[in-house]
Amino acid sequence: MEVLKIATAGSVDDGKSTLIGRILYDTKSLTSDKLEAIEKTSKQKGYDYLDFSLATDGLVAEREQGITIDVAHIYFSTQTKSYIIADTPGHVEYTRNMVTGASTSQAAIILIDARKGVIEQTNRHFFINNLLRVKEVIVAINKMDLVDFSEDIYNKIKADFETLMEKRDYQDQNITFIPVSALKGDNVVHISKNTPWYKGQTLLEHFELLDTEDVYNVGTPRFPVQYVIRPKTEEFHDFRGYAGKVYGGELSVGDVVVALPSQTKSKIKEIYLYDQSYQTASRRSSVTITLEDDINVSRGDMLVKVDDLPTIDKQFTATISWMDSQHLVTGNKYVLQHGVNKVLAKVDAIHHKIHPDYSGIEEHISALGMNDIASVTFKLNKTIFFDPFKNHRTNGSFILIDSQSNNTVGAGFIQ
């Protein structure tokens, strides 16, 4: 089974919820009771069309204000794939939700209102999806029905966006442009007769043809140990298994591995998933590994291949996305969670703030506020084993936790 997770980004009123509702409707994923509820509410509001945005706008506060305030997850499936859409809000103050949604997605839809074209918000949405290295980006130029399905307008917006693309850091990101009308259904699931000049695929066709494995980060195998399994039963008296998930690449029986931080060498003896044993643990699989030698490995340690060590250090510089109303100031201490490993981190220096609209950087910064993105150096109380984010999406990222509130207050991408 293939699962594709897609993040959506768009400004208020770009029609994001309508687009998702349209996808659900045209793929016949809206059940009759949900459709009934949408018909009823649309009628109550006096609309002469179906307000599909009602399919996703879940919370009472949102219905009152008519905006999406948090990440919502929407599910549908086709014969080919299971889809998860992370619907993230587009307004300026909710950068943190967009970062969150993009972090777990392999594809993203950036919505542009054809009447407005590329606006400052579009820059931000693109910046964040590029920063988070989301492999596939669809630029959906929406509300084409309101600009008479004009090819010129579509081309103008596409050209503007391409200018923006020159500024991107992650060049290998695949970007596809599609003219759509979410409200009327053009080029969403069904190809439109109104855009004869458009020779590409519909939004759904594009996703259907994506290779979900290809969009995952292929790196070098990293196996952070989550939990040590010791049954202590008669049958499994000496069993000592390391439970975890394989990130990047794969691990096989017989591979020579090094346990970090002890740097002790051993060989993979068995790979289990439940009561089945496997020759190879593929990337993203949750398995239990046993080693030939009885070495000391505990939670937070990492197994890696002997010829492929990550950086082992107590200091690094990262691009961080700050998500808390309490400011980040030089000298502040946080709990830094890197995978399943937790250490203490001190803010050593804030180098500069990065404007997520591609308008440049700002130096001599003393504090970071909610939604700021900045380059920051951290010093740690213990070594961690990391890769640059550009090489390894999982082993190059971390979160910051405030030890007073216990909240997740920031996310970082190691440079």
Binding site: M1, V3, T31, L59, H73, S77, R96, A243, A411
Partner: protein, 301 residues
Amino acid sequence: MIKDTSKVNPLENEAIYIIREVAAQFEKPVLLFSGGKDSITLVRLAQKAFYPAKIPFPLMHIDTGHNFPETIAFRDRLVKELGLELIVRNVQDSIDEGKVKEESGRYSSRNSLQTTTLLDAIEEFKFDACIGGARRDEEKARAKERIFSVRDDFGQWDEKNQRPELFDMLNGQIHLGQNVRVFPISNWTELDVWSYIERENIEIPSIYFAHTRETFLRDGLIWSSDDDVVYRDENEVVEERLVRFRTVGDMSCTAAVLSDAADIASVVQEIRDSTISERGARIDDKRSEAAMEKRKQQGYF
């Protein structure tokens, strides 16, 4: 030996990862078990997460006293077979102690009363993490739920102040008195659960399959009249119908659906073809448009 794990369901990999994080990050986790298909799936995933060791936490059932007898019998058998620890706390006790008041009338149900019993049990055992089988596709308030969802001392959900969850990283740090509700199958759909049950050959209570039952109609839904739990008006006519249950909650709030799906393969096919959502047969969600959101804020699952 099987060649590699690339064909393993990505949702299963994710759920096992989450369950292991619970065992590693918390001191007193518990798995909330209702006897329904979602919690039965969770038990299988937990077995897989820790094999060959036993599941390192107990199961807890908040028994409304209005469960289908088939569910209770199934629960007891499963626990015995797997050698698991089961804690049962009864809504009836909360009623007897005067902590909650039984509803009366046509739509009366003990469903919302469970919250008090659950919160009391969490406090009694000092559970810091409760694993549940809720899924985001079930209901729109649940679509916004986190995988690790922090609840305050009163068990309340603050939907506006949820922790962002990035990549695979789950932040389980909490203050004393708080607890976390954990949803390992957040990203599964109803069809995903059924397909998994089919592929893994997991046993489930018989009421999920087609059987004849004494029923009556109300508001277009089919209710069981086999027992005295469900309130029935004099003029509501009892008839025998071939039905099954698509979701197994309380008898008082779970309606049956007409079905001849007698085995798991036909159930999967039925779900695939279905145009009614699962919770469409749950009267507890129909009380108002925001019914689930309100219950969740009060500490319901």
